[in-house]
């Protein structure tokens, strides 16, 4: 039996389509709930990219943290606000804003492609050696970059303590 082979370009295009279309939907959905769902789908597409790039651990965390926690928080916020207020908030579209956004996006695209064109031949030095197991990822993080890890941990603790202080101040 012939093994079923799906060309990787096709997968890439499909994932890109899902990610981009749902990101646009997230911005343009009339109902905020659907916007949040589309955002979740977009995160799912990104997780697909991580799988595609041989980083399954990142993909799983992307789904668990962004799909499972961030989207839930957004939904929670939407549902706790009264309906009329969300309708008033929902995607205010002024022509001036979208023009500025388009200009900024174009500038960013030009900048990224310029950098990529300049650094093109030197950027991809070597593919990583084979399948990098998760333990290898852990070793890299803790053995080669311990100081950034500790700084990140401190940053997150500071953010948590700040959130607690703010919550206590409200009372």
């Amino acid at each position: 039996m012939m093994p079923l082979v799906i060309p990787s370009d096709l997968i890439f295009v499909l994932l890109a389509a899902i990610t981009i279309v749902s990101a646009i939907l997230a911005l343009h959905a009339k109902e905020l709930i659907y916007g949040a769902i589309a955002l979740g789908l977009s995160f799912g597409g990104m997780a697909g990219f991580f799988v595609f790039l041989d980083a399954p651990y990142l993909a799983m965390l992307q789904i668990a943290v962004y799909g499972g926690a961030v989207v839930v928080l957004i939904l929670f916020t939407i549902m706790l606000v009264r309906r009329e207020e969300t309708d008033a908030l929902s995607n205010p579209s002024e022509d001036g804003q979208s023009a500025v956004g388009l200009w900024l996006a174009g500038l960013l695209a030009v900048a990224i492609s310029g950098v990529a064109a300049l650094a093109g031949p030197t950027l991809p030095s070597e593919p990583p050696p084979g399948d990098l197991p998760v333990s290898g990822l852990g070793l890299v993080i803790t053995a080669e970059y311990p100081i950034p890890l500790v700084i990140l941990a401190l940053l997150i603790s500071a953010a948590m303590i700040g959130a607690l202080v703010l919550a206590k101040l409200e009372k």
Partner: protein
């Protein structure tokens, strides 16, 4: 037929899951009935009315699916399907025996948790789509509860991952050949068990479907096939979490060799399921604030302390002396 095909369609896959889930619905009713000195399902045929789930399934399929007034029909109809999908997908990485695992992922345990982490999202979406007060309150409660108890669950599973030195569920079970992890990671087991009771919305943590207050919680408005799918997803999740306890703490498929490995696995899993069901016939429900307080101030602290304990166990060589 290739081995993988059989695995997906028959044994750890589709057929086995459906049958066991159907069995569990009957098992829970019968067990609770016996605890409370009732008879339970009896007349549907088979010994002890074991064909009751089939009768229920046929009944529910042929019942009308009622859309509540001004409900969001797209979400209302798709979310139950996604729930079943999310509950069934993690079984792809659960090893039922040395050769009975569909996919040995390097990140198996994170895969399982990534799928279960999507449950509260789907539940709150369904609750919102029902456009009714009881489901919405139940959905909010479910969200609170599952988000709180996910954290101790992940952290207590971390001690097991540290002991095994791998996130692959197959490697975790292989590391328990001489000593089950319930011994070196006993506190992690306690925390994990309590957390999955809350994740599964089982008594004493069944606030999301508290019958006296909320009718049936977040699935109050569902009927017919929609209700059946949700029921299926919930019981499949029950089986999934019991299987996860077996894999992480009870040595997975290991046991005396006169019984085949998958049978050992299923026996242990059903024992865990029984332990999860029994409190429903025994305990009362706890209050919401108590639930949140236990989660944040007790379980989280115990699970974090247990991580340090595990580090001590490994660095002092005690774990190696136990044969891990």
């Amino acid at each position: 037929m290739s081995h993988t095909f059989i695995e997906i369609i028959i044994f750890p896959g589709f057929l086995h899951l459906t049958l066991v889930t159907a069995f569990l619905t009957w098992y829970e009713r019968k067990l609770l009935a016996r605890i409370q000195l009732r008879i339970g399902p009896l007349y549907a045929g088979g010994p002890g009315g074991i064909l009751q789930p089939m009768a229920d399934g046929v009944k529910l399929i042929f019942k009308e699916v009622i859309l509540p007034y001004r409900a969001d029909s797209i979400l209302f109809l798709t979310v139950p399907l996604v729930l079943v999908f999310l509950a069934a997908l993690p079984f792809a990485v659960i090893p039922f025996g040395q050769n009975w695992v569909i996919a040995n992922l390097d990140v198996g345990i994170v895969f399982v948790f990534a799928n279960t982490a999507m449950f509260p999202l789907m539940i709150i979406l369904f609750a919102w789509a029902s456009n009714s007060k009881f489901p919405f309150l139940g959905g909010l409660r479910s969200l609170f509860q599952q988000v709180v108890y996910e954290i101790p669950m992940w952290i207590s599973a971390l001690s097991v991952v540290m002991l095994a030195g791998s996130m692959s569920l197959v490697d975790i079970v292989n590391a328990q050949e001489k000593m089950w992890f319930i011994v070196p990671a006993f506190f992690a087991f306690i925390v994990f068990f309590i957390s999955i009771m809350a994740e599964l919305e089982r008594l004493p943590f069944d606030l999301p479907e508290a019958e006296p207050e909320l009718v049936a919680g977040w699935f109050t408005e569902s009927s017919g096939a929609i209700f059946m799918l949700q029921f299926l997803a919930l019981y499949m999740k029950l089986y999934l979490m019991s299987a996860l306890v077996t894999v992480l703490f009870l040595g997975g498929w290991w046991g005396p060799a006169f019984i085949p490995q998958p049978v050992w696995f299923i026996i242990k899993t059903l024992i865990v399921t029984t332990c999860i069901i029994i409190p429903r016939g025994v305990f009362a429900r706890i209050r919401m604030d108590m639930l949140i307080k236990i989660g944040w101030t007790r379980l989280l602290v115990i699970s974090l302390a247990n991580v340090f304990l595990t580090v001590l166990l490994i660095t002092s060589g005690l774990a190696a002396a136990m044969g891990i």
